[in-house]
């Protein structure tokens, strides 16, 4: 997949995973597992990027006698998700067009 596109997708993916409830690294990976296999280092990079862009905040909280980092979405992060939905309706319309055209070609026997 195009790196730029994938980056935008995964950023929004992680934001969506924390949109209602603060979450932590492993939980995010588990939540996204059915859709995309996110490696730990990729998740780390995304979380860092979102944090420096002000789309989420990090806090450490105790859990079973150790510290765990929890990620919380900010107003900017929520805005980003809304933007994503708006952009996506445009992108999916284009994608539909591309797929439909290709299917037409397939039917006509052109590959």
């Amino acid at each position: 997949m195009d790196a730029q596109l994938k980056r935008g997708l995964l950023d929004s993916c992680v934001l969506a995973a924390i949109r209602n409830k603060d979450s932590y690294g492993y939980q995010i990976i588990k939540d996204l597992k059915p859709y995309t296999e996110l490696s730990e280092s990729t998740l780390y990079t995304i979380l860092k990027r979102l944090e420096s862009a002000g789309m989420l905040t990090v806090r450490s909280a105790e859990h079973n006698g150790r510290l765990r980092k929890y990620y919380r979405i900010t107003g900017a992060g929520t805005d980003r998700l809304r933007e994503f939905r708006e952009e996506w309706s445009e992108i999916s319309a284009i994608a539909e067009f591309i797929i439909r055209e290709c299917e037409n070609d397939d039917k006509a026997g052109i590959s």
Binding site: Y24, Y26, I29, E40, S41, Y44, T45, R66, K69
Partner: protein, 200 residues
């Protein structure tokens, strides 16, 4: 591989990374492993789901922008070691002349640029003087009763005056260009220092 072994190996593989960066990543993996063992996985199982520490380090390093790594490398983290100072001193006869030569070459190029402009002005001045001289000669020739010669002098004078005016316009343009270039070079040199300042 136990959690501790994994983290130790990862720490070693991340040696090229800025220190805080490496520590933060290690803490991240630490938490990830703990979260997995809490779910009932053994440390070995938890660690094996990540891949080898070296692979992870490779991926991490490939994601970090080159500029950041270079900056980290350029920034001295410690005082120079004795052998480095010795090398710098012993290498002085080699690196100092090269450094000076490079500076002088840059300076020469700059001087050559302005020399061209100065010579253009010189040519222009010569043409202007010739134009005036031509008029003087024409007047003298006329006084001596040689109108043909006088006309030739006037012609030559006009030609010189025309060329001088045209060349003067060119000179002004060239000067402006050189001034702009000078400013740009100045800004560039300044930017080198600004970037250095941000690092420290």
């Amino acid at each position: 591989m136990t959690k501790q072994e994994f983290l130790d190996r990862l720490r070693r593989s991340l040696a090229g990374l800025p220190l805080e960066d490496a520590e933060e990543r290690l803490a991240f993996y630490d938490e990830m492993i703990d979260d997995r063992t809490e779910e009932g996985l053994s440390e070995e199982e938890a660690v094996s789901s990540f891949g080898t520490p070296e692979e992870i380090a490779d991926q991490i390093l490939s994601e970090i922008p080159l500029s950041r790594l270079v900056r980290e490398r350029v920034k001295p983290k410690r005082a120079l070691r004795a052998w480095e100072i010795v090398l710098l001193v012993l290498g002085f006869p080699v690196w100092f002349p090269i450094l000076i030569s490079l500076c002088i070459i840059a300076l020469s190029v700059y001087v050559v640029l302005w020399s061209v402009i100065v010579s253009l002005y010189a040519v222009d001045l010569a043409l202007a003087v010739s134009a005036v001289g031509g008029i003087a000669l024409a007047v003298r020739a006329l006084l001596q009763g040689q109108p043909t010669q006088a006309a030739a002098f006037v012609g030559a004078s006009l030609l010189c005056a025309g060329l001088a005016i045209l060349l003067f316009l060119g000179c002004v343009k060239a000067t402006k260009g050189a001034v702009i270039l000078t400013k740009r070079i100045g800004r560039w040199i300044k930017s080198l220092f600004v970037r250095k300042g941000e690092n420290s």
